[in-house]
Amino acid sequence: MKHFLKITLSILLVSQIVSAQTKYTISGFVRDAKTGEELIGASILIKEMPAIGTTTNAYGFYSISIPEGTYNIISQFIGFDLQNKQLKLNGNTVQNFTLSEKATKLEEIVVAAEKKDENITKNLMSVEKINIQEIKNIPVIFGEKDILKTIQLLPGVKSAGEGNSGFYIRGGAADQNLILLDEAIVYNASHLLGFFSVFNADAIKDVTLYKGGQPAEYGGRLSSVLDIKTKDGNDKQYGVEGGLGLISSRLKIDGPIVKDKGSFTINGRRSYADLFLKLAKDSAMRQRKLYFYDFNAKVNYRINEKNRIFLSGYFGKDILGFGDQMGIDWGNKTGTLRWNHVVSSKLFSNTSLIFSNYDYNINTRLAGTDGEIVSRIQDYNIKQDFQYFSNTKSKFKFGLNSIYHKIIPGAIITKSDSSISELNLKHKQALENAIYFTHELKPSGIFSFEYGIRFTSFSTLGAGDFYTYNSLGETIDTASYTKGEFVTTYYNIEPRFSANFILNEKSSIKAAYGRNTQNLHLLSNSTSGNPTDLWIPSSNNVKPEIADQISMGYFRNFKNNAFEFSTEVYYKYLQNQIDYKDGAELRFNENAESQLLFGTGRAYGIELFLKKKYGRFNGWVGYTFAKTEKKIAGINKGEYYPAKQDRTHDISIVGIYELSKKLTVSATWVFYTGNAVTFPSGKYEVAGQLVNYYTERNGYRMPTYHRLDLGLTWQRKKTEKFESSWNFSLYNAYGRENAYTITFQEDPNDPTKTQAVQTTLFRWVPSITYNFKF
């Protein structure tokens, strides 16, 4: 570790000497004038040096070094009025900006200095920034604005199914997405089996999705990073905001703890579909429980301009039950303690202590089966990140991270008179370490690149017996380890690289390569993810999954940056991919690892994206052509076969139109090829049962899916003191009967025949939400 810091610091020093001139550093924070919230990704420009610019980091901090002189420093952020500060630079200077929200919602003229071509000039490719304001107007199921549903409308991002918040990125499985909430890993991002996501949009400040070319500070999952940062809360005045919907309601309170120094925010949400059940005539129906709730809370305090502390937490739970007789609940808990420290005007540090937990409990109280099943995954995580703003051409990021994972795969606790046996599957412990280093370099106005490396180690720890299996899944070796003893350790080097070459003012080409590894694997063999799916760490049997992705893109803007067009192609090669043996028994199986098969995979595709960002009408069109295949000995004769998330065509169209200052209408349309699926090729009879005959895995396709959603937002009042609006939405407006599942069964009316039955979940789901803010 010391070694690593030494090397890093000496690199920094050398680059310092090379660029030694009489330069001074301007640094500071960019904040929202009304709430005091730091703005992430706000631009800092220097009027006199148009080629030079920077953006604020995840904590709203920027640093830029330029020669002595008098300058106009401009800061601007989308949706805010820009701010210009004149400055005589003859020493290191702290310059903070406070930007005010644009008075009018309609954007009229393009301001000359505004940097609207970031998609061209920025080095990043395969990255999507989600604008929370934009999400508000997009219609979604049950009228609850939802980040995970919105990102599914972007090219390269596919929904895991009807109304599902699970998603697949560039052919990756649902467990290959690193979902971070204030840096804490979220293991299950779904409420109510995916119809809601666990992220309350009111609490969220910034969402960034990396589909490829992930910077080296991220790691641990193969496909993508979804980095979600919550709001800090208003440090100037108290505010209340909320929404009343048919299925759920939410409330947010925020305000200062010490004015301009510290603030808090609390967000709560609860669904109440079960309250309607109380009205049911059927007494069995009245006893059913079915709801979720969640809380986001955050406090922060600015000790001085150089030190700031944040404490944030999330707590959520889903509860399903049948009277007192049986029930299941599950949920996430996360906690993050952060310390921002401006070491010098050029060096920014953040230290985080992070806790995350996901668990589920099942209990039954039926006679003879009194008992409880518990399962849990827990992380204790420490993270140190540095950002060094060397000069206008070069920026460094480096840091380290250590996570202790603790998994309780499943324990059954019973009452004495129960007919079920007690069971406690072996607990699993693992230690995951990473160090990383990234250098962002802009040698000239037209060329920029970023290279980085991430070095990781993953160790499975004792105590317990560790089994080794042969290809038949039989135990061939057992080794015993004591508590804390290292069982297996895997080391991985993950190089990352991305480059941007600006062709002209309107277009650029970009390329990226990255290797990612994954050491926690989700065993899920159901069509839609279940809360009881099991995470397992890499072990003597399960090797780290590895993905190498190369991508290239062409970016072009039209009509004075009013339209953005981009196309990206990617190819991914995956190693140590997991699939399941025929008839695999994954739950409550101490030998679950013996039920797995391993092989390789490949994914490739092209994504096209056209977006109109400004004006009364805005929206986008996205198209993806993709292929995802696996090759695993023991499945389909060891040949490449489509993975279950394979979909050939995927189209999304989003349109938002501001009819007047009070009325906004929106529509989305999605169309995609059905997923690869296993259907029977015949049937037979055995033991008196009619049984389907399967000949190949994922050899068929579900029917094509398409759907139109409509939304209407009606702004009732908008004053300084009080705002309110109504939101109406209609999901699946033309009532398409999309297939959720297709089952093959005996014809109930004619036992001599069989039939295929398609189940459709939603046709025409209308919803109304009332939103308020004061």
Binding site: S526, N589, T678, V691, Y694, T741
Partner: protein
């Protein structure tokens, strides 16, 4: 270590389906036309031999395409041989189309039986060992009040022999009609214990128990491969809407060369009860 949690699983499946029913107020089902590939028919072998007096039968049929009627073509003219590890062997005679019967061989506990079938130029074989018999002591019926009204469940009671791996298959016969539900159990977590095991009714597959009904339970002691066959057959047939396996596959057969079905050499005990 694998635990039997079928009842927990069925609870789970029940809850998930319940969730769907409640949540999905507008869900609907319809029969659709799916174009399924035709495949060459595959042979289905269903073979049983036990410690009770014979004759024992082997049934040979073929698979049918999905759009065809549910009468499955029988396979005639095959050569079917059952032998044991004590040198006994018998070639079965076809007593009716696709049904092959023994006349001399007697199933004996502890022996390993081999089935050899030659049909349409292909050879299939399977091995199964006849396990020691375990006595089914008693049957009890428990009445429970559920939100849907009272519900009767039959329980099997027996002592699991200690120190050996035991696998059980139960067949439920109500008023002389063999029920379709599959029940299998292992003893990995309750070796040597007195077992009191409910055989929950599974959906519409089963007649609801009412006073006066005559219920017979046949308990088979089977070997591990046969247990795995019925376990995976159950998995295939019991998956609910949400719990549906993403990669359904044919049950794990103990017959070679791609044949479907099973060959089961087992010991058998049974008990009958009249529902009160």
């Amino acid at each position: 270590m694998k635990i039997d949690i079928f009842k927990y699983k069925s609870t789970l499946i029940g809850i998930f389906n319940l969730l769907l029913v409640v949540l999905v107020f507008s869900s609907c089902e319809k029969v659709v036309n799916i174009d399924l590939n035709s495949k060459d028919p595959q042979i289905v072998i269903e073979g049983n031999i036990n410690d009770q007096p014979g004759p024992y039968t082997i049934k040979l049929t073929n698979t049918a395409n999905f759009d065809e009627l549910n009468n499955f073509p029988s396979v005639s003219g095959a050569s079917v041989i059952i032998s044991d590890d004590f040198g006994n062997s018998e070639t079965l005679t076809e007593t009716s189309a696709g049904i092959y019967s023994t006349s001399t061989i007697q199933g004996t506990i502890g022996r390993t039986y081999t089935l050899k079938v030659t049909a349409n130029g292909k050879e299939y074989s399977a091995v199964s060992k006849m396990s020691s018999s375990v006595i089914l002591d008693t049957l009890t019926i428990v009445t429970e009040q559920t939100p849907k009204g009272s519900n009767k469940t039959i329980y099997v009671n027996f002592i699991d022999p200690i120190g050996v791996d035991n696998y059980y298959r139960f067949i439920k016969i109500i008023n002389g009609v063999t029920q379709k539900s599959i029940y299998v159990e292992d003893d990995l977590l309750k070796d040597g214990e007195a077992i009191n095991q409910p055989l929950f009714a599974r959906g519409q597959d089963e007649t609801k128990l009412k006073p006066g009904y005559n219920v017979t339970i046949v308990m088979q002691s089977v070997d591990k491969n046969v247990y795995d066959y019925f376990r995976t057959l159950l998995q295939l047939s019991s998956s609910g809407l949400i719990n549906q396996s993403a990669s359904p596959a044919n049950p794990l057969s103990n017959i070679s060369n791609g044949a479907l079905g099973y060959f089961n050499a087992c010991s058998v005990t049974s008990k009958t009860i009249i529902v009160q």
